[in-house]
Each structure stands twice: as structure tokens, then as C-alpha cells.
């Protein structure tokens, strides 16, 4: 495999780009695998990579109904941060951020992780103090965090609306400088290429249609390309987890599928260097500018359960209102495209990486809004669970029994109403 580096880019300039190979193979499906991961999204691909790399398992298949990275991998707003405060969550997200920091080198693929700072605005003393709890918890874990006062904020992002005509005047911001954005597709491709080079079979256009169970195990996976035997099976199909779960003969999950819209404007010369988050008065809005120049932003869920990957106007209007309220210069900027993805929203806003009622089935699901940023850690810890057949300390509570056990990892305190965990 030709390594990705400036030397080879230069060389290929002279040989009409003929020196590059397929970034991943189109392998023939084998009859049997040690581990089959269902879902070649970010998490499935990352899991396969870490299974191969950290646990030296090399007989792995990742099955994908469509094309790899075709679900939420390519539909998110690419924000990476670790400002989580609940036990288990913080360590996990920070582990992820640390993996992000070296991911391009690790994968030999430029995922363009840009630590351009995540600026979380607050508008009242109460909001400042509840942010203080979160950002103090981060600092006490040696995770970077800081508060910016108005003076610093105005100097850094002068075109936010600080004016007397702001409905919610800005008081300051809680900031994580190591946070930022990455190129979402590149992450999927990077993991796919790296996993493939370690011998992982990525099987695209291969839909799982059913499971044959023997005793308390999944014995055979029925796919559109035939039957496969698997010693261990992992699900990483956020958005459609319940469907697969029921296909495996299981019943209900603490998950509801909701859709989240995302938006991008026409490409512009640099106008916003940070990720800015605005949440007050029931509004929720986050915005950053991609390297290509489009402003990428999003807001709340569409508020009703849905498996349709298309959004409706009220949220379009809602995010535009929020955009202009916080950045009044965006009035003439034009929306180029809006789309939506299906989120596994959970009953406490936290995820599942856990064993299941089926002995050789493992679950990776329930990423709510936050799946993109967790990609490296999700793959790392899911691989760790599958390889060792036990949860490690960090994800010990991220199981399906936590509700009955009374374990609370609800970052928002919103309770068992999935749509409120945005």
C-alpha cells in the first residue's frame, strides 16, 4: 500500500496519479469470521481497526447494507469535544479526544482534526455556574477548560451579537481549546483503509436479513450475499439499532430513533474560526466553518420520532433564527443544503457499549447527538469489550441494566424522554 505523504503526492503528480491503489479492497465474503461487525459506519470501522490492531484479531468482517460511511458518518456537523461531566462519560470522551489528536498519524490519513476551540456561550449567572461545574470537572481530570469573560470573547469573536438588541445578552463563555472539528468522511475512509490494510474484510452492499440462533448464541448471519458463521457479533448501526435488535429475536431497547437536521451554507472566505454554541431560552444552536468555507450548523431534533432521512421546515426556520440572533452578519449568507440523519436517542442521553442477552452478541448504540466525536474511543472500547468479553472500568455502567440499577449518567438531567437529550 502506497503510504500517504507529500513525497508520494509529488511523485504521483508526475505519473498521472497512477501510483495509488484502492484505499480498501472489495473482498469476497468468507464463510466464517472470528468477529462480524454489522455496520460500516464510523464506529463499526473503528471497532474493526482496533480489534485488529490492539487485539491482533485478523479474521474480521464489517458488513454494510449500503456504502461505508453512508449513514451519520457523513451527516454530522463534525464537532469534537470532551466537555462531559458524568462519571464514565468524561473519561470516555476525553480518551476519545486524546485519540483524535494523533488520529491522522495513526491512520496515515489526514482527517483534518483542527483544534479550533469550542466556545459555549452563557447568558446568565445560573448558566455560568452550571457550566462551572462541568468545566471544573474537566480541569480536575486534567482536561483543558477555561472561562472567557466578555472582554476576551469580544476580542476573539468580535462579530457575535453583544449589542443592546440581543434577546439574551452574552455574559461569557466556557471554552475548550483542544476541541474542534474534523473532516467526517475522511475519518470513515481513514479507518476503512487502515482496517483493510490489517486484513479486515469490509463488505459493502451486504445487508443483514436475519440471524440463526443456537442455544444462547448467534450461530449464523443471513445476509443478502449469503450465510456467514461468526464467533462473535457486534452491532454498530446507530439509527437502526432497534430494527437489528429485533431481527436478532430481542425485544425492546432504551432507544428511540429521532432525526436531526444539519445545514451548510455556500462557501465563504474565513468568517468564523471557532465552534460556537448558543443555548438559551429553549434554543440550541452550534456553528463552525469548514475548511472548504461553508458554515456548518445545526440545532434541535425535529421533535418527533422518525426514520426518514429528511427534515421539515420548523427546525430550518429555528436554526436560521438562532444563527442570526448570535451572528447577525449571516443574514445575507445563503443556505446551500440541508439534510438529516437518524439518531439513536436514549433514555438518559448516554450511550451503550455492552454485552447483551445473547452470549456472543455485543452492542454499540445510543449515541444521541454525539456519535462523531466518540468514534475513536467507541471503536477502542467496543473492541476491548468484544476481545475480552468484559466491560472495562470506564464503560462499566454503559449497559442496558443501568436504568433498573438506578445508575445516573444523564448529562442534561432530562430524564426518560429521548427527544430531550439533544
Amino acid at each position: 500500500m502506497t503510504r500517504f505523504n507529500a513525497w508520494n503526492v509529488l511523485k504521483n503528480g508526475f505519473i498521472n496519479q497512477t501510483g495509488w491503489q484502492r484505499q480498501w479492497r472489495d473482498p469476497v465474503l468468507k464463510k466464517e469470521y472470528d468477529v462480524v461487525i454489522v455496520g460500516a459506519g464510523l464506529h463499526g470501522l473503528a471497532t474493526a481497526y482496533y480489534l485488529a490492531k490492539n487485539h491482533k484479531i485478523n479474521n474480521i468482517a464489517v458488513l454494510e447494507k449500503g456504502w461505508l460511511g453512508g449513514g451519520n458518518a457523513g451527516r454530522n456537523t463534525t464537532i469534537v469535544r470532551s466537555n462531559y461531566m458524568m462519571p464514565g462519560n468524561h473519561e470516555f470522551y476525553e480518551h476519545s479526544l486524546k485519540l483524535w489528536e494523533n488520529l491522522s498519524h495513526e491512520l496515515n490519513y489526514n482527517v483534518m482534526f483542527s483544534q479550533r476551540a469550542h466556545v459555549n456561550l452563557f447568558h446568565s449567572p445560573a448558566a455560568r455556574d452550571s457550566n462551572a461545574r462541568r468545566y471544573n470537572t474537566m480541569l480536575l481530570h486534567n482536561t483543558d477548560a477555561e472561562f472567557w469573560n466578555l472582554k476576551k470573547l469580544k476580542k476573539t469573536i468580535p462579530h457575535l451579537n453583544y449589542g443592546p438588541n440581543a434577546r439574551f445578552p452574552i455574559m461569557g463563555a466556557a471554552v475548550q481549546k483542544r476541541a474542534g472539528t474534523a473532516r467526517h468522511d475522511a475519518v470513515a475512509w481513514g479507518y476503512a483503509r487502515a482496517a483493510d490494510s490489517l486484513g479486515v474484510d469490509i463488505i459493502q452492499n451486504c445487508e443483514v436479513n436475519g440471524f440463526v440462533r443456537r442455544a444462547n448464541n448467534i450461530d449464523i448471519i443471513e445476509t443478502s450475499r449469503g450465510q456467514i458463521k461468526a464467533k462473535k457479533v457486534g452491532f454498530a448501526v446507530a439509527g437502526n439499532t432497534s430494527r437489528l435488535w429485533q431481527m436478532a429475536g430481542l425485544d425492546s431497547l432504551p432507544i428511540e430513533s429521532h432525526k436531526l437536521q444539519a445545514f451548510v451554507t455556500e462557501p465563504l472566505k474565513p468568517i468564523l474560526d471557532q465552534v460556537v454554541v448558543f443555548g438559551v431560552g429553549g434554543a440550541h444552536f452550534y456553528i463552525s466553518q469548514s475548511d472548504k468555507g461553508g458554515l456548518v450548523f445545526g440545532g434541535d431534533l425535529d421533535w418527533y420520532k422518525s426514520y426518514a432521512q429528511r427534515g421539515n421546515l420548523p427546525i430550518v426556520q429555528d436554526v436560521a433564527e438562532a444563527a442570526l440572533s448570535i451572528l447577525p452578519c449571516l443574514g445575507r449568507v445563503r443556505l446551500l443544503r440541508h439534510w438529516s440523519g437518524i439518531m439513536d436517542m436514549t433514555m438518559d442521553g448516554s450511550f451503550f457499549i455492552c454485552k447483551t442477552p445473547i452470549d456472543n452478541l455485543y452492542l454499540n448504540a445510543g449515541w444521541n447527538y454525539g456519535g462523531f466525536k466518540t468514534t475513536p474511543a467507541s471503536g477502542w472500547h467496543f473492541a476491548d469489550l468484544i476481545a475480552n468479553n468484559r466491560p472495562n472500568k470506564i464503560i462499566n455502567n454503559h449497559d442496558l441494566k443501568r436504568f433498573e440499577k438506578g445508575v445516573n449518567i444523564d448529562e442534561r438531567g432530562a430524564g426518560p424522554d429521548p427527544k430531550l437529550h439533544g
Partner: protein, 93 residues
């Protein structure tokens, strides 16, 4: 925009309503076991297809409705007030 025909107010935008959730949940008795309650409030079939769900016409008559709707296309099959007595009252309106 999903248009929802409120049995009391008529055709309205869905933004006048709030989505409640799975309308098929049978809530246990108040003194039922933790297991029963856990299943009722935390676990969902999360239906792909037509599901019965609750909505409230919160910016209208404030009726809670039971709606059969496709979670794939958003198309609505049927709508009625969640409360049986109110179904009768609306019919006689």
C-alpha cells in the same frame, strides 16, 4: 411540515403540537414492581413503520391525541383524542 388534523381544531401544522411518545405503552399500577416500571418507561419497541403515538395540541385545544403515523414517511393514518370520553364529545361536536 407534517399537517395534523386535530379532531377539535382542524388541520394544523405539527409545530403547534408536541410529540409525546410511544402511545402503546401500558403504564403499570403505581405500586407495581421496579421491573415493570423499568420496562414501561425506559424500553421501547421503536417501531419502524406505522406506530401509535401520542401528541398534544399544546398551542391549541391542549387535547392529547393518539395518532397512527408512519415513522418512515411521516404519513398519518388516523387521529383520535386519547381520552375515550373526549372521542365521543368530539364526534358530537
Amino acid at each position: 411540515m407534517i399537517r395534523i388534523k386535530c379532531p377539535y381544531c382542524g388541520d394544523r401544522d405539527h409545530s403547534e403540537f408536541t410529540y409525546g411518545g410511544d402511545g402503546s405503552i401500558v403504564y403499570p399500577e403505581l405500586d407495581a414492581s421496579v421491573e415493570d416500571w423499568t420496562n414501561a418507561i425506559f424500553f421501547r419497541k421503536n417501531i419502524y413503520g406505522i406506530q401509535t403515538e401520542t401528541w398534544q395540541h399544546v398551542h391549541g385545544c391542549r387535547l392529547w391525541l393518539k395518532i397512527k403515523r408512519s415513522t418512515i414517511t411521516h404519513e398519518i393514518e388516523s387521529i383520535e383524542p386519547a381520552h375515550k370520553e373526549i372521542i365521543k364529545m368530539v364526534k358530537n361536536k
